[in-house]
Amino acid sequence: MMRARAPGFSAITGALAALLVWAGHFTLIYGAHALACERGFADAALLGLPAVPALVLGASLAALLAVGLVGWRAWRRLDGSLAAEAGEDAPRFLAWLTLATALLAALAILWEAVPVLLLHSCR
């Protein structure tokens, strides 16, 4: 009997990859910041920069790169076309979904990184 190895179980997780990166990024910046403030090493220097902004911006860049990679791979599977949300063809639809969620995740990461440039770390 043919055993249908669910094609694209990885496609589902693939569509969630960018949002999972967002979740990791969010947990990291919130957790690291709380830790830095509670334990008083917020004013320490990291690579010559204040610890909290350096950490948050570094994590945000890494997360944006990861999300960008997810989005770029999906874009290639779509042959660079965004037309009509890839229609009803399942693999193309999932690729489109991956790309769209990557854009949303990127926006969220970007917005969450901005405050670190404007606000004092622990007040």
Binding site: R39, E85, A100, A105, A108
Partner: protein
């Protein structure tokens, strides 16, 4: 394979799966298998159409009851310095109102819509675990009614639906009121999780052949995201509830600052659930809107993919908002800004949905029938509530608005606009699907206007009274502050809205009938729930080739009714459902699903009785109910699951031969256990967070604090080794089973059980020998909370192991029939991994810090 390639039976070009005429007796056999119990056996019913309607009806009953409580509150607040209702009753009223609306109305109502609609919409015969849905329903109905009646004895919770300690701790709330909340609501959360497992597995594994993810209706997307959110959000409040009950019952100081606890720990756990909760309620409603609008305007949803993306995105981002409710707690501004930004981000997908609905309306020919009126009302109210939502996401503004009537206004705009109006639209829209006859257009139109005007009149003035200085949860307010007129308007509005609800109730009582069968498609909708249905759902399972099959294939309904699509009868004479692959929806096997029975009903009575008797500390009665629940669950599993390969693979049409038994990742049971373990893993993550958080807030203090010590590391190594050996033993049992050595397998299972219990027991013993106690300090409390949770798992493993061995001795486990074993092993290995992680948390984390 030889010969010419067979055409893909799922392709639209292939001939219809089954020929005419159908064999004599086929339909009768199908009807016999799916016959609904009648008379005094009615409570045993499991069909999703019946359970769904009961579920929804009960949820609506709670909506009315909690609404009456709201009316009492509005009566009290109609005038300043009013003494109609005293402070004690008032505090119980608002606590019960909020709790009932959130836990007993909103979540169950949308879950009920899912249970009711999903099988029909996916053209499944039923959801994969009908008894689980029925169990969830009965536990909820019994527990919910008892919980609600506590207000008649003055024993209702009075600490707010958010239950903040230390106010809800033993010192400041010595009565049973808080326990009613913790235990009463605690197990209703379990019922919600049971429903979520059902929905996730159902949506991923029970879709009609050819209904790929790309063709899946938006409502199914919404319910999938909804259920997944429950899986990750509810564990936080379940864990918080466990901690608070442990503190109240045994004095373990998780939230008592004087002994190293922190009240904010509760707030983090509660709102990690509480904020996603709002979207848990909203997303299914949004999914319903995305189904109703296309039918009302006779046009396809514009931006189907965008809307699916918006649902997924909202599901994730809404977990980044919980501190939104803690802006005034003195957390650093930068932390608040992260959450503020996430709140902004989550409004983008919501905006996408709003404009997708507007675009769909613009492309179609709108008909102003009752469902459409409620949809338009929804758009007005919800958009307004969404905008005030952005306002309260603005930190400095929220410092003023937080905990005032402005927030009361905002949340009611969002929840009534975002959930109640779509639900009413849905009731008016789908009522014909249940009874063949729709509700009254006249009554519905009147009700709509009363509700629309009443709701706006009630809640719009609250924006003003809040910013004029009126905090929430006050039983009275002084005259002369200019609050009088706004409060009077709100009270008048509440009466108007109540009349609207009354009209809807009259309409439903007069015109709603359940026939269990449906013919016709009065709104000329495009999706499968409008196929002709019997108790067995559609006669044959349609081959799906587009998103709106009924629009694209006008003959489909007739073909399905004639039995020309897949599985037009029953292969085994029992209830069956067609299990398909999660992405492409290719048929995999025929799952045999259990029919009516008493076991799950008794299990529900036992579960509800157990928690409720614990509340009033009737320990023996609770033990009796607990035993009833466990025994009933075991009987239910024994008779209804893992039947094995009871016949050879069966023909379902189109040349497809499917086995009637599956194990491993193909089977629905395996998926259900995986989802359950996700819930469990999230609870463990909350446990680890608790430990880390308590360390963090205990300043520079040593961990463990002075005067407390952990046992030496070698003492912890033995338990870890025993637990790991238990994992190895259960894997060995799996190998023995594959070789058909049932007796050896049973012995290996028992050995594995012994190892696990010995490992956990020696660990507990070592901690106690080191002098550690849970009551003295939050450190000990955190360590023993971990022990408690491992103990719960040990008990579960104990029951499972004995069940497995008993099945094996009864000859019901063999190399083919091994689903029970696989499911138990999955849980077992999780329990082992969790125990090891727990030991690392107890013994290694504090040492790593030092």
């Amino acid at each position: 394979m030889a010969g010419p390639p067979e055409p893909d039976p799922l392709s639209p070009d292939a001939p219809l799966p089954n020929p005419l005429p159908r064999p004599a007796g086929e339909l009768e056999a199908l009807e016999r298998a799916w016959r609904r119990p009648t008379g005094w056996r009615f409570p045993t019913v499991v069909n999703n159409t019946w359970i769904g309607v009961l579920y929804l009806g009960t949820a609506l009953l709670f909506f009315v009851l909690a609404g009456v409580l709201a009316l009492l509150m509005r009566a009290q607040l109609a005038l300043p310095e009013n003494d109609l209702i005293g402070q004690d009753l008032y505090n119980q009223l608002f606590t019960t109102h909020g709790t009932v609306m959130m836990f007993l109305f909103a979540v169950p109502a949308v879950e009920a819509m899912g249970v009711y609609l999903l099988p029909a919409m996916l053209a499944a015969r039923d959801l994969p675990f009908p008894r689980l849905s029925a169990y969830a329903y009965w536990a909820y109905a019994i527990g919910g009614l008892v919980f609600f009646s506590s207000i008649f004895y003055g024993a209702a919770p009075d600490g707010g639906w958010f239950m903040y300690p230390p106010l809800t701790g033993k010192q400041y709330s010595p009565g049973v009121n808080a326990d009613f909340w913790l235990l009463g609501i605690g197990f209703i959360e379990i019922s919600a999780i049971a429903g979520a497992i059902e929905i996730i597995v159902g949506v991923l594994k029970n879709r009609a052949p050819g209904m790929t993810l790309a063709r899946m209706p938006i409502f199914a997307w919404a319910m999938l995201v909804f259920a997944a959110m429950i899986v990750f959000a509810f564990p936080a409040v379940i864990w918080g509830t466990i901690l608070l009950e442990l503190e109240r019952a045994f004095g373990w100081p998780f939230f008592i600052a004087a002994r190293g606890g922190d009240p904010l720990l509760w707030q983090h756990l509660f709102w990690f659930f509480g904020h996603p909760e709002v979207y848990i309620i909203f997303l299914p409603a949004a999914g319903m809107v995305s189904m109703i609008i296309p039918a009302m305007v006779q046009a396809r949803l514009v931006g189907h993919g965008l809307v699916a993306m918006a649902l997924l995105g909202t599901g994730f981002l809404s977990f980044g908002l919980w501190v939104h409710h803690m802006f005034a707690t003195g957390i650093p501004n930068l932390s608040l800004a992260f959450f503020s930004a996430a709140s902004f981000a989550v409004s983008v997908p919501t905006g996408i949905q709003v404009f997708a609905w507007i675009a769909t309306i613009a492309t179609g020919r709108p008909r102003l029938q009752v469902p459409m009126l409620f949809i338009l009302g929804f758009l007005f109210i919800f958009v307004l509530g969404g905008l005030t939502g952005v306002m309260v996401a603005v930190v400095p503004f929220d410092w003023q608005a937080h905990d005032t009537y402005f927030v009361v206004a905002h949340l009611h705009y969002v929840l009534i606009g975002g959930m109640v109006f779509p639900l009413l639209a849905a009731i008016y829209y789908w009522a014909p699907a249940a009874g063949g006859q729709g509700l009254s257009r006249r009554l519905g139109t009147f009700a709509f206007w009363l509700l629309f005007l009443g709701i706006n009149l009630t809640f719009f003035p609250m924006h003003v009274s809040g910013l004029m200085g009126m905090p929430r949860r006050v039983w009275t307010y002084p005259a002369g502050m200019g609050l009088e007129v706004w409060n009077l308007l709100s009270t008048i509005g509440a009466v108007v809205a109540a009349l609207g609800v009354l009209l809807v109730a009259i309409d439903v009582l007069l015109h709603f009938r359940i026939k269990g069968t449906m013919a016709g498609n009065p709104f000329h909708a495009g999706t499968l729930e409008w196929l002709p249905q019997g108790n067995y759902a559609a006669r044959s399972i349609p081959r799906v080739t587009s998103r709106e099959p009924l629009w694209d294939d006008p003959d489909l309904a007739e073909q399905v009714l004639q039995g020309r699509h897949f599985l037009p009868g029953t292969a085994t004479g029992r209830r069956e459902s067609l299990v398909t692959s999660p992405v492409e929806a290719r048929p995999q096997y025929l799952a045999i699903i259990p029919g009516p029975g008493w076991a799950h009903v008794l299990a529900a009575i036992g579960t509800a009785g157990f928690f409720l008797s614990l509340t009033v500390e009737w320990v023996l009665v609770a033990a009796g109910f607990g035993a009833l629940a466990v025994a009933s669950v075991l009987r239910w599993l024994w008779t209804g699951t893992d039947l094995g390969e009871i016949r050879e693979p069966a023909e379902i049409g189109g040349g497809l031969r499917l086995p009637v038994y599956a194990t491993g990742p193909e089977s629905v049971g395996w998926w259900a256990m995986v989802v359950l373990l996700l819930v469990d893993g999230t609870i463990f993550a909350c446990l680890a967070f608790t430990h880390g958080f308590l360390w963090l807030v205990n300043g520079d203090g040593a961990w463990p604090p002075a005067g407390m010590a952990l046992p030496p590391l070698p003492a912890a190594a033995l338990p870890a080794a025993l637990v790991a050996a238990s994992g190895a033993a259960i894997c060995l049992a799996g190998r023995l089973l594959r070789r058909g050595r049932a007796l050896a397998m049973s012995l290996a299972v028992l050995a594995a059980l012994g190892l696990l219990l010995a490992g956990l027991g020696t660990d507990l013993q070592a901690l106690r020998a080191a002098g550690l106690r849970p009551e003295a300090h939050a450190f000990g409390a955190a360590v023993f909370a971990n022990q408690f949770w491992q103990g719960v798992h040990a008990a579960a493993v104990l029951v499972m192991a004995l069940y497995l061995v008993a099945r094996s001795w009864a000859g019901m486990v063999d190399p083919v029939r091994r689903l029970t074993f696989e499911v138990v092993r999955l849980f077992w290995l999780y329990a082992v991994a969790q125990a090891l992680a727990g030991m690392a948390l107890t013994h290694l984390f504090p040492r790593g810090l030092a």
